[in-house]
């Protein structure tokens, strides 16, 4: 049996892993979202409302919250088409803050005081979701649809001119990413059994992005590596006491400087897999 301490850490990793995957999906089309904590918050609040007030089973509540977030993601995705690069990132950052301050004012769900009454979920349940969605992404990565997303990432004009509907691809990525972030949020709410708007601020969005970039933004497994590092590293650095965050910052910069593509990338994965030589 795992100690409570490690169980807590692994739950955090699972939740962050889902959040990182939500950024990964959107980033695969070349769009950087700094507002996925907003979708996470939407998921957390919708799922909690459904389980606590409507007495829905958790799984149904998570699916419903993912759908709600997906719709909002698509609504965000359309205006996002007008923006590129850092301006898109800033607009999504704004979206995240708008959601957070909406939740602060949403008295029906506790407002600034937060919301509670959820039932605690098991570590296994969290990882079932994380594993399931990871599996979906791994399958998707080998599909034509994913190639289309990468084409949009690499050269949007050329993608259009080889017959790819780039609008649908980009908006679809926003919708799917939002759904995954919402699941992360729903699980967060039912792991900590208490949520407040501050849980879903800019730092959370940045954590998602950080996990993806650290772990490697060109393969889905990178999100897992990044999430694990982001949760475990500060724990392993505990011996440094007051200076552990500074040490974490230094390590972060060092990894980015020495491996800007992230820890995992396709060539490394291929090597790890001892891929059979094609004849």
């Amino acid at each position: 049996m795992m100690s409570t301490y490690y169980a807590g850490l692994f739950a955090d990793i699972g939740i962050l892993f889902l959040g990182a995957m939500s950024v990964y999906i959107i980033l695969a089309t070349g769009q950087l979202s700094l507002g996925n904590a907003g979708f996470m918050g939407i998921g957390a609040y919708v799922a909690s409302f459904l389980t606590v007030e409507m007495h829905l089973p958790l799984t149904a509540a998570l699916v419903a919250s993912a759908l709600v977030a997906a719709v909002i993601g698509v609504i965000v995705g359309f205006p996002a088409l007008r923006l590129k690069g850092i301006y898109l990132a800033i607009a999504t950052l704004g979206f995240g803050e708008v959601v957070r301050s909406f939740l602060l004012n949403f008295d029906r769900m506790g407002g600034a005081g937060g919301f509670h009454g959820m039932k605690h979920v098991s570590l296994e349940y969290i990882w079932t979701w994380a594993g399931l969605i990871f599996l979906l992404i791994v399958m998707l990565e080998r599909s034509r649809l994913w190639l289309e997303m990468r084409a949009v990432h690499d050269d949007e004009t050329a993608a259009n001119l080889v017959g790819l509907n780039t609008t649908m691809t980009k908006v679809g990525a926003f919708g799917s990413g939002a759904a995954v972030a919402a699941i992360s949020g729903g699980l967060f709410a039912h792991h900590y059994v208490y949520i407040e708007p501050g849980n879903f601020g800019f730092e959370r969005s940045i954590d998602f992005v950080l996990a993806v970039i650290l772990g490697g933004s060109t393969v889905g497994a990178g999100a897992a590596v990044g999430a694990a590092l982001l949760v475990l590293l500060p724990e392993w650095l505990r011996f440094l006491a007051d200076w552990r965050l500074a040490a974490f910052g230094v390590l972060l910069v060092l990894v980015l400087l020495t491996r800007r593509q992230g820890i995992l990338d396709r060539p490394l994965l291929d090597k790890l897999r001892f891929r059979r030589a094609r004849s």
Binding site: R142, S143, R144, T157, A158, N160, V162, G163, L164
Partner: protein, 249 residues
């Protein structure tokens, strides 16, 4: 049967007429060339056909359907494929991935979200065929952008062909190639044409165009000044004056 026809197409940029009243057609199974001096509007013509620009007036008809207002991706999904003057390959993709990305989608949309290796044997066969046809087997898993220029051109053409076009648009396909490579491509285009593919190409290389095309249009300052078989165009005094004259000078 006409694959593509343009009638009275005009396009201007900030008061400068890039195309004025251009009408042309590509009959099925033919290789049609558009020639003209630099800045004559050739690339603009391609951009209007592929929906990258909207024609200000006039009509573009593809296989019986008016496509003037269609978005690019829809035009390209309806039987047109193109290559670019400055090669545009996807930076992160291998040759093999390029041969999959532009293929027509499967009818059951959800199947496109499944791994190609399980769910799309047809796409794999088509990609393998293209690989063999262009002699790219040895580059299959190489990032296409890292290959030599001539090979990249082939990858781009192969990508275009995997979209199963009825009409192939080639934007200066032999630019930067030596005579031998150009001759190679000529043979290749002939073979494709014999399989029933119609081709519209823009090219500067005169001997190449003259020996490959069935029919030529000459564009000068955005307007058509002549059309006919290569022999007719070669002897047309207007053309000699506007184009071949300046080229020789």
């Amino acid at each position: 049967m006409t694959v593509l026809s343009l009638s009275n197409v005009s396009k201007s940029f900030g008061g400068i007429r890039a195309l004025s009243d251009v009408s042309l057609s590509v009959p099925e199974g033919r290789i049609v060339g558009v020639i003209g001096p630099n800045g004559a509007g050739k690339t603009t013509l391609f951009n209007v056909i592929t929906g990258a620009y909207r024609a200000a007036s006039g009509e573009v008809v593809l296989g019986g359907e008016t496509i003037t207002q269609w978005p690019s991706w829809r035009i390209m999904r309806s039987g047109v494929a193109r290559t670019f003057q400055n090669i545009r390959l996807f930076a992160s993709m291998t040759v093999w991935e390029h041969l999959l990305v532009a293929q027509p989608r499967q009818n059951a949309l959800w199947r496109n979200a499944l791994p190609v290796s399980w769910a799309d044997a047809e796409a794999r066969t088509r990609a393998e065929d293209a690989l063999t046809f262009f002699g790219l087997e040895q580059y299959r898993d190489v990032i296409a952008r890292t290959l030599p220029y001539g090979i990249q051109r082939k990858v781009e053409m192969a990508r275009a062909l995997t979209a199963k076009p009825k009409l192939l648009l080639l934007d200066e396909p032999v630019a930067g190639m030596n005579a031998e490579e150009a001759a190679d491509l000529r043979t290749l285009f002939r073979r494709l044409n014999e399989r029933g593919l119609s081709i519209l190409l823009i090219e500067h290389d005169m001997p190449f165009v003259m020996t490959l095309c069935h029919q030529l249009y000459v564009l000068d300052f955005g307007a058509l000044i002549a059309e006919g078989t290569p022999d007719e165009v070669r002897t047309n005094p207007l053309v000699l004056d506007a184009y071949l004259g300046t080229e020789a000078a």
